[in-house]
Homo-oligomer: 342 residues x 2
Amino acid sequence: MNAHERMRAALTGQPVDRTPVWFMRQAGRYLPEYMEVRSRVSFLELCGDSDLACEVTCQPIDRFGLDAAIVFSDILTIPEAMGCPVEFHPGKGPLLPQPIRSAADIAALSMPDVADVLPIVPETLRKFAAARPDVPILGFAGAPFTLLCYMVEGSGSKNWLSVKQLLFTAPQAAQRLLDMLADMVGDYLKLQLDSGALAVQMFDTWAGILSPEDYRRWALPAAARAMSRVQGGPKLYFTRDSSPFLDVLAETGADAIGLDWRVDIGRARAVLGDMPVQGNMDPVALYAPPAEIRRRVRRILDAAGPVGHVFNLGHGVLPTTPIEGVEAMVAEVKAGPSTPVP
Amino acid sequence: MNAHERMRAALTGQPVDRTPVWFMRQAGRYLPEYMEVRSRVSFLELCGDSDLACEVTCQPIDRFGLDAAIVFSDILTIPEAMGCPVEFHPGKGPLLPQPIRSAADIAALSMPDVADVLPIVPETLRKFAAARPDVPILGFAGAPFTLLCYMVEGSGSKNWLSVKQLLFTAPQAAQRLLDMLADMVGDYLKLQLDSGALAVQMFDTWAGILSPEDYRRWALPAAARAMSRVQGGPKLYFTRDSSPFLDVLAETGADAIGLDWRVDIGRARAVLGDMPVQGNMDPVALYAPPAEIRRRVRRILDAAGPVGHVFNLGHGVLPTTPIEGVEAMVAEVKAGPSTPVP
């Protein structure tokens, strides 16, 4: 099988020769070749230049021989395109200096056509397909609830007080913003599939701050509304906290579920039925000795089974991750299933 | 029933007239009377003076008429007593300026007799029992793994890289420290029961950073080792992330489980069987309008059922929490079960 066939088969629950492997934030600061590019341009400049974005997207593919690329971009391009400015300051998380706190703030946002205002990612997808035709590429977007978290809070947060206050005291305004975001996210994911992405992943990083009741009330229907606008390839849904919501994740309309590391992948599969899964090694395990990394990879491969599994970390790779740890992980996945595929 | 009978019955799965209620960090910065005391003394001075600690322990009891007090203290008194200094700086989390990173660091720690080095909490428990004989009081300690997190990292952390590196690269040293902490924690909880606490709670705040495999390997046996040294009253075990570990929490040896808000309490009860539970409202829900707070309290009471449940938040009350929100929550719990107890 080539990488295109392997990824598509894994994401649709068809037999594979071995489990495919890529990992979140695989193009990033742990790579010297990425840091070399970043020594010349800022993160935002990199996201805004499809040649450079394509270059760094290729880097982990060329170094590790992965089964999929993910387009280099940031989830906050959508809020910015809607009129909510975003800043990045070195060593800190994103900052949105004009947070959305009221119905009036929401009314002032716009809903432009994604193809008009977000051309860089489609361009990058096309350039990658020309540069590395042997390797499939994934598109992505933030999930509506996670984008709402950043837009309302204005940054990352410990308790997400402003976000939940909006939900609990102004539910109609919150719903309006989630609906707007869902439509933008859905259209953007569709655009990426139309631009050559083999599949798309929706990152609901902060859904796990909600109780199960609030998840079902807010984050889940917003994700489902976005997913319903997307056709043309498998759709992945990832949350940073999979465990509390396993029983309802199918309702997102996703074709496959990205799991964080705080859930047993075997147990997740039992709950999710025949839904393909992606994940889920603890990113910090890449700092362990190679033998321990290989043991952990093997444990996940065995628990997930050989069909309907894409190997990945349970969260993005960390900036100080040792390259040798990544190499050990990739080699063990590529060693294939523990028992021959029948 | 009086509050002593009600709490003991709920924690042991016996019938109650109504669900008892207290909440984590109930003595704290959201109370003007607490801030008045803190205008005169620092947090550490407050923890070190049993008269003042008793005074602030009484404050939420007197204001809200709660069914239980929890002794005012901090989980980091044990690391400090073992030789790992702890600092608190206004507006920041705890700082341990000499973090434990090696077997040599661990060997330099001591294991003094808890009754000799930690006399303030036992004194406070006795003073509270004399001051408010109608109200039971809970003792507490940090769980071994959570204390290890602070001691190794030196502060709170986003990724807990140093902690996990110790686990993954120096497992014998990590195990040695966990064993030491487990024995200290167990003895300290036993001392608190001997000093008049009706029950004790072990806070495993950071256990949820671990994969289920690592939880079972590290945090769970350490908690169980500590619990095995404790007799004389019900033992509660709380994690900030209950959902991934529900199926193994009984193995801690706890008599009851404190649940965070990211788990459906009805589902948790189904997994935990007849184990009493405590929780689990989102602390941020206290910022909602009173009618919404009452709806959420009622939903939890109904899902948990009238037997074997202590009402609580799913995490500590936040410093800016509105008093009226707390009042609405307490009043709704005190309104009793939705249907009369048979």
